[in-house]
Amino acid sequence: MGSRVVVLGSGIAGHTAASFLRKWLGKEHQVIVVSPKSDYNWIPSNIWVGVGLLRADQVLFPLPPVYKRVGIDYRQAKAVAIHPEGAADEPSAFVDIEYTSADKAGQRERVAYDFLINATGPKLNFDATPGLGPDKFTVSVCTAEHAVQTAALLDEKVERMRKGERQKFLVGMGHGTCTCQGAAFEYIVNLEFELRHRGVREMADITYLSNEYELGDFGMGGLHLRQGGYVTPSKIFTESLFAERGIDWVTRAHVSKIEPGRVFIETLAGEEKELAFDMAMLLPPFRGAALSAFAKDGTDITARLFAPSGFMKVDADYAAKPYEQWRAADWPRTYQTEFKNVFAAGIAFAPPHPISVPRVSSKGTNITPAPPRTGMPSATIGKAVARSIVDMIHGAKEPTQTASMAEMGAACVASAGANPFTGTAASITVFPIVPDFEKYPEYGRDLNHTFGEIGLAGHWIKILLHHLFLHKARMRPLWSLIPE
């Protein structure tokens, strides 16, 4: 009899996992995807939607026809609870889901599984900072809808500048524990490029606001690059890029509160300041999706499966220890949970600790970037977990694949202005993502594989990636040959 693999979430990790499961498993096995939004969003290109260069429909496409074509069973629903041991009236493991589609909204169902992948990504935790978020006083580019709203506000601000009104733009992190600095970096340089393009740059004051200790930290403790006969920290390049574009910056900051036109910050030094803005694109901190877990007898075991952050505990070393004792080996390798048939992939897994040096302000506020899990590792983890599950279905006792962020590199292209002739992007490769100071004592990374460069070629690669990854996600011919 065939097995049933249930994937929660259809983002980069979940959709990659589901696609490969379907490709590798025979038709006697069932692949079920449970995800509340029926559109796939190529999130990295939301940046261009947020500056008005792309429409939402250019970064979104409907998943149900794709899933129907390839034979993936899709339920437009959100997972609510996991029952890894079944329940008193149900012998096998299952997930409680709640439909979000218009026709079945609110209806509940039990979906039984033999294997489960939790790839529910981040919950955008705007509530962590009073006044943060598109429903309050700031905008975001985390979803395509948010980005459309952001582009509309930008148009309004440009009109004001055309009428001679100076405008203050604030872009960055809306909380001391945010991650995803790369996205804020991309948005601010694209914003600057776009304002120049629209002829209003001189009317704009643009400031980057971040919880990073230094620019270029990106939640991964920064990186070092060989350049011009020196090994140079990423801080130098990031500062240079901002200074060249006349972008000011405030680092080491936690946003404590936002009011219309005003952001209140606390810095590591314990200072409290107020920054004025006309438009603020501030990213929220991330939490895990609100999932609960229950034992067979109905006991709540959420704290056993999930970290307090809501992310799922996998095969990492979660013992609390000081920074000096952090090791590359703390990071998970197979993403299996204590239940052998339950895995977490992408942002949904709980990291053992941050990557950046943890810091607390003199008032006791944690101002430490959380570790990023960008698209490439998310997809790589999704694929590795899918392969392990396929092999376990075929008889393997344990997961067969590993994809530790301390053993894999990442390639990242950060757009710095979108134009086929005058645009640029920073192309960066790092190896490994999580520094391994035992293997690479000086910088934690292999400098032969850690590299960065700014130029038009990077922008071409970014455009190429946009089309390739959308082609892959649509599962069009030869999709599986496109690397993660």
């Binding site: 344990e398 067969t400 590993t402 894999m408 590199g409 038009l456 690669i461």
Partner: protein
Amino acid sequence: MTTPKTVTPLGRDEHWLTVTKPTAMTRFLRTFLLWQLVRFVVLNLKMLRIIAMGHHPKR
């Protein structure tokens, strides 16, 4: 840290004194088509190498 808004005696923002900046040649090369075509190939190869080092069968 907020970048100081001090202006130098020549009227330039202090950014010019404290921050590494690209030379005119570096800036030119960033969007010079012929050079960028070469970099396009090189960067793709570098990224493919990183991808090839991706995930592993369990050891």
